[in-house]
Symmetry: C2
Subunit: 234 residues, 2 copies
């Protein structure tokens, strides 16, 4: 990964002031895993003296992320101007019940990505859209007709080059002082999972059309394997 | 809810340019439900010419949200200076399989809150911390010893008054044109749920300490009832 031109600013943004053992700017596999497990990023950018922030689905593509929206979206158009963009992604994976409120915490992975966007046009647009659709709905593009010229024209796809990033992982057992361990409070972890439910056919689905293979492959399964963030023993 | 002083700026931030039927700035019960179902917000604020954004647990308290962190956290200290803060919360609740990539989408609720923070001090601090702990770990404070003076001193609690906000709800069946409905592609919705797993006792838990009631009440249950965002028929 490259660092952007403004090294000192970047360093200020990514060098952790606290708990450095939980923060990485080099664990690219960890970042890729998080972006594979969580599809929603919160995109922040300067707007009239304050920071605006909005959620969006994203798809990792090489060392950049793809974002899409309507050409009619003013926020997408604002992002397309090349303003600095900061993206935040978080995955809450458990509650940590320590013996005090002070030590209570959460199991999570989170990342902050820095960069700016440019509009994807020309021949690159079709493959970028396919990648976005298959990220949101894995295996779906081969089940669908191709987009029309009109649909391409109505879709704004942005590519945000990741100039810098940081990944934070908190997956620790409660860490209580001896005096609290000696007390009567229970301590441990309550995991949180995301799972796909059972498919609901659209009310206007024609009779005789079988469930799509792409949907059948997800139904009833965990959105991601919790193993990817297994607890570390203290 | 009150609007902040700078009406025109606020209007620009919250008046939707597209799909206004999905956006509300008056459905306070809907916003409260979202903040009850999702604990993580992404807090954005201006920093050295760009927008910084970080995830944090939040707790709704009246018409404001509470945030907490370490007094050693520079981002918390930056928020405490009173800079304008924008908070983004999203809940992804399903995948919408339309008959084209263009109409494919997601079922979600999201909110953007505008305001600024002030530090909570004095007698208000203790109840604010209790509220935060019980938001993250429902029913937990009564099972724990009271915080110590040292712990209070090490904790920075911020209150962000919500001066303005917007709530977006997307829970629609696929809306395909007749020509696509006549095709062979399956269409429908695949719900996504969050569920609590089974409790994992801390390795240093002393023998004979029973599972906490607060944990037993969540274990194996959905994090929130999906009914709260039930699909609307087209």
């Amino acid at each position: 990964m490259q660092f952007d031109q403004n090294g000192s600013m970047t360093k200020k943004l990514t060098s952790p002031a606290r708990m450095p053992e939980r923060v990485s700017s080099s664990d690219w596999a960890g970042l890729r895993q998080l972006l594979s497990d969580q599809v929603i990023a919160h995109l922040a950018f300067p707007f009239e003296g304050r920071a605006m922030v909005l959620p969006s689905a994203i798809a990792l593509d090489g060392e950049s992320i793809l974002i899409h929206g309507s050409t009619g979206s003013r926020w997408m158009r604002q992002l397309a101007t090349g303003v600095p963009v900061t993206a935040s992604i978080a995955s809450l994976e458990g509650l940590v019940y320590a013996r005090s409120g002070f030590e209570s915490s959460m199991i999570y992975r989170s990342a902050v990505l820095f960069g700016s966007c440019r509009r994807v046009t020309g021949p690159e647009l079709e493959s970028a859209l396919d990648r976005l659709v298959d990220r949101l709905l894995p295996g779906r593009t081969v089940e669908l007709r191709r987009p029309t010229r009109k649909e391409f024209a109505a879709t704004l796809v942005l590519r945000m080059e990741i100039s810098d990033w940081t990944l934070k992982t908190a997956n620790f057992w409660p860490e209580d002082p001896e005096s609290d361990i000696a007390g009567t409070a229970w301590a441990g972890v309550l995991p949180i999972f995301s799972v796909y439910g059972q498919p609901l056919a659209a009310p206007d689905l024609r009779e005789g059309i079988p469930l799509a293979k792409s949907v059948a492959e997800l139904a009833g399964k965990p959105v991601f394997e919790p193993d990817s963030s297994g607890l570390r023993l203290p």
